[in-house]
Assembly symmetry: C2
Homo-oligomer: 156 residues x 2
């Protein structure tokens, strides 16, 4: 089976984009990964409408990428804030990869907006593709792509 | 400067999503990375309308992620097909990271739809975050994130 004869219905890229394949969703997750927790903070920082923010937060929570934690400020009603789940943190490489491309191809030369470093040794981090034997920073030319056991025939 | 006080305007994640932060765009790129080149092939395989496909192909070409190459079938008018540029291939880790999350969290247990392997040693590949000293498969907890030299104050 070749790629064009492979169904896209269970393609994991497509399934993932069905959940986070929308700009605001990933920007909310970016902020949540950077410690933003509260509705008003997301709204002010990202600059999106209440309606869109509510909708995307609900989608992220329904998908198990964010979870809600109740809090109450003195004199205010009970509210909830948002935390990134383990499942949500599993999307962190996607964010780092998007950041890397933007810095490479759309940067203004001022250096990183967000400086990510390995805490232990203090050096900058990057996303790479590596194999099980530890060969790292593989290029697409070094990687073969063939329909695997999960591939199904395209309906067409 | 803390994250909430940092402008999102020049955030590289946001700039990148301004180009590819839409589901169809990334699905077209996925197909192009798998060797799909022609308009009708994209349309049939992905199952999207002519109008959306034309628009997204134009955006990807304008952004320098795809480039057009003319071809002509006997008896047909000249057309062009699409190839992934170097800049486009730089988004490959984003696609592999999206694939990985989908396989981990939305897979049906049948195994990978697309089997990516290091050609040289034959083992499966994955996306990881590594540091300059080669410490690999870093978790978010092992990585510090601080506004860097490119950070600008948020206009609020």
């Amino acid at each position: 089976m070749e790629w064009l004869e492979t169904s896209t219905e269970n393609c994991p890229v497509q399934l993932t984009l069905g959940v986070v394949g929308e700009k605001w969703t990933l920007l909310i997750l970016r902020d949540a990964c950077n410690g933003v927790r509260r509705f008003d903070e997301f709204r002010r920082h990202i600059g999106l409408s209440d309606a869109v923010l509510s909708d995307r937060l609900r989608k992220l929570t329904d998908a198990g990428i964010l979870r809600t934690v109740p809090y109450q400020e003195p004199g205010s009603r009970a509210r909830h804030e948002y935390r990134v789940t383990r499942k949500g943190w599993d999307l962190w490489p996607v964010l780092v990869a998007l950041k890397q491309w933007g810095e490479t191809h759309m940067g203004d030369g001022d250096g990183p907006v967000l400086d990510l470093r390995h805490e232990e040794c203090g050096t900058p981090v990057r996303v790479v593709v590596e194999c099980e034997r530890g060969h790292t920073a593989l290029s697409p030319e070094q990687v073969t792509a063939k329909p695997g056991p999960g591939a199904r025939p395209h309906a067409a």
